[in-house]
């Protein structure tokens, strides 16, 4: 007590030794407020105007006109459907492939760690870089892929064209789907592997000792542990695929025409090629609302299913 009183005397006041927590949060919060929350709210306002900096028109209030135009134009719906197709295909592929790879990596073996680490390179490097190299690889005339395919099946698919691929979608869109799959499958695999590594060792050994057929091993040993991770991966990938922009921009810039204009690319074009900020922000808001809504629904459904099962 004496010592503390002496400290008091020295500093002359009851030095407040504890920091107010709000002060600690404030700077971070301010940054987010200014550069994140405020712009989003502002863009809502913009969506009610006819707004364009370049045309030097004075912004004109048009109420909900932008929204009506968007919701009634076939152009918008065309993009929405395309994005939907893209999401379904790419997520199916990503998860299908990931599952296969994950199962292949079922038990530990020497070098597993290094292999997994190397396998993560595709999604850790910039999508821009990956997309560029695929531009080279898939070059329709001289690219390695087509040279190989030519010698194998005598045909060079036009990867960046509007020709319809065997899957029923244009080649350009297929290319985007394939590149994105290449980039993100390792990500999903990694999450699933993490889930699988949670399986208690004795269970694994037991199943091996019992000599179970693979079907049973999968259903009762592996699946319960992978399910929660699949849910998480699904939520993440769903949110992220709606944001797809970088690779499309590099691969096809949305074209040819609008063959690969996914929703993010569409908004970009409206905003920075047509310079119609009003419409662009309106579409953004609609997308935002849909994303938040669907993600919440998704989360509740998936978490409900996976935790219900585990109980």
């Amino acid at each position: 007590m004496q010592e503390n009183l002496r400290v008091l005397e020295k500093t002359g006041s009851l030095k407040k030794k504890e920091l107010n927590p709000w002060f600690m949060i404030l700077p971070a919060f301010l940054l987010l407020l200014i550069l994140n929350i405020f712009p989003l709210i502002w863009s809502l306002g913009i969506s009610f105007y006819r707004f364009s900096i370049i045309i030097k028109e004075i912004p004109r209030y048009v109420g909900g006109l932008n929204y009506i135009n968007i919701l009634t134009s076939p152009e918008t719906w065309d993009r929405v459907i395309r994005t939907g197709i893209y999401v379904v295909y790419s997520i199916s592929l990503q998860f299908g492939l990931s599952l296969l790879v994950t199962l292949l990596l079922f038990e530990t073996f020497r070098g597993k760690r290094i292999i997994i680490t190397l396998f993560m390179i595709p999604f850790m490097i910039a999508p821009v870089a990956s997309a560029l190299i695929f531009r080279y690889l898939l070059d329709e005339n001289l690219g390695p892929v087509n040279s190989l395919l030519n010698s194998l099946i005598g045909y060079k698919p036009l990867w960046f064209s509007t020709d319809i691929s065997p899957l029923g979608i244009p080649y350009a869109l297929l290319t985007v789907i394939l590149v994105e799959t290449w980039i993100w499958t390792p990500f999903v695999t990694f999450l699933l592997l993490a889930g699988m590594s949670a399986i208690p060792q004795d269970l694994v050994e037991q199943s091996r000792a019992d000599g179970l057929k693979f079907r049973y091993k999968f259903r009762y040993v592996i699946l319960p542990y992978i399910k929660p991770m699949m849910a998480i991966a699904l939520i993440f990938r769903f949110m992220d695929s709606l944001k797809t922009f970088d690779s499309v921009y590099i691969l096809t810039a949305g074209g040819p025409g609008s063959t690969t204009e996914l929703i993010s690319v569409y908004i970009y074009r409206v905003a920075f090629e047509r310079w119609d900020f009003g419409s662009a922000t309106a579409i953004s808001y609609l997308v935002l609302v849909i994303v938040i809504f669907m993600t919440n629904v998704f989360m509740r459904y998936i978490i409900g299913v996976s935790s219900g099962e585990k109980g």
Binding site: W22, A28, L31, P39, S43, L132, G143, F245, A271
Partner: protein, 282 residues
């Protein structure tokens, strides 16, 4: 005698299966990474070899790197470094303080704030970039380092906060309390006790944030200027040219992705935490 031979036969079968499986895995991995391999191969190929000899370089050359340098690769990489270092530094400092508060204090509305921070991940950047672009344009921030740095600080803040908070959560509160009882101030506890304890975690968080910024494209495309454009923008501008030298592109790419590949190995331990924004830990 019969039993012994069936046992060794089964063992052999098992062994072969194992090796086959391993070989299959290796094959898949190699095939999967061919595009990355191609990047490296292309970088050392001269123009003439560009479309031949797909897996090897008959006449390796360093010309591409020289050409890249002449075409602005050096300044682009430098810009990437500046913008990444700046963005991550600011993000880290703000995140460190905020994370500690979130972890240790019963802040009112904490759950709401945390949910908000998590939901920033849901938002397509394109939705955000439009108003920010207008803002920056009007404020004269377009094309400046400062503007882009601030934007990136904002972008990486949620990730940093979640991750660092998860590391601080791992430090028992007793430690803070022991220090309080000893008579230390909160500042001392923060900087001399808690942060040093989670130093590897802070480094990992910084690395993940850095990777995010380093790879970022959209904001860089719209907010950087001719002098300040980072590597991702440089790469994207190449695509328009006809009959250009893919080798040069590959050379830039190689320099661009090397730091990331190195980081992956270093970050192995924190990978799961980083990828799931700190919500999942092994």
């Amino acid at each position: 005698m019969k039993k012994a031979s069936t046992y060794s036969k089964a063992l052999l079968q098992y062994r072969i299966k194992r090796y086959l499986r391993f070989a299959l895995i290796l094959l898949i991995l190699i095939a999967y990474l061919i595009p990355v391999y191609e990047m490296f191969v292309l970088a050392f190929k001269s123009r003439t070899e560009m479309y031949s000899n797909y897996f090897i370089v008959a006449q390796p050359t360093l010309d591409n790197f020289k050409e890249a340098y002449e075409h602005g690769a050096y300044s682009a990489i430098l810009n990437s470094v500046i913008v990444t270092a700046g963005g991550v530094s600011i993000s880290l400092i703000l995140a460190l303080l905020a994370s500690y508060a979130f972890s240790r204090y019963p802040v009112k509305g904490k759950n709401l704030l945390m949910f908000y921070i998590l939901s920033t991940r849901m938002m397509p950047p394109i939705a955000l970039i439009i108003p920010v672009y207008i803002m920056f344009f009007n404020l004269g921030l377009k094309g400046t380092y400062g503007g882009l740095v601030l934007a990136y600080a904002m972008m990486t803040l949620p990730l940093s906060v979640w991750m660092i908070k998860s590391f601080i959560d791992d430090v028992p509160v007793d430690i803070d309390q022991a220090a309080l009882l000893d008579g230390h101030s909160t500042t001392y506890i923060l900087f001399k006790i808690v942060f040093p304890m989670i130093a590897p975690g802070i480094a990992a968080s910084a690395a993940f944030a850095a990777i995010t910024v380093w790879n970022e494209f959209l904001f860089a495309l719209l907010l950087s200027g001719i002098e300040t454009k980072p590597t991702s923008v440089l790469l994207s501008s190449i695509r328009g040219e006809r009959g250009f030298n893919w080798g040069r592109v590959a050379a830039i790419e190689v320099i661009y992705i090397l730091p990331i590949i190195a980081l992956i190995f270093w970050l192995q331990k924190y990978m799961l935490r980083g990828l799931t924004f700190g919500t999942v830990r092994k």
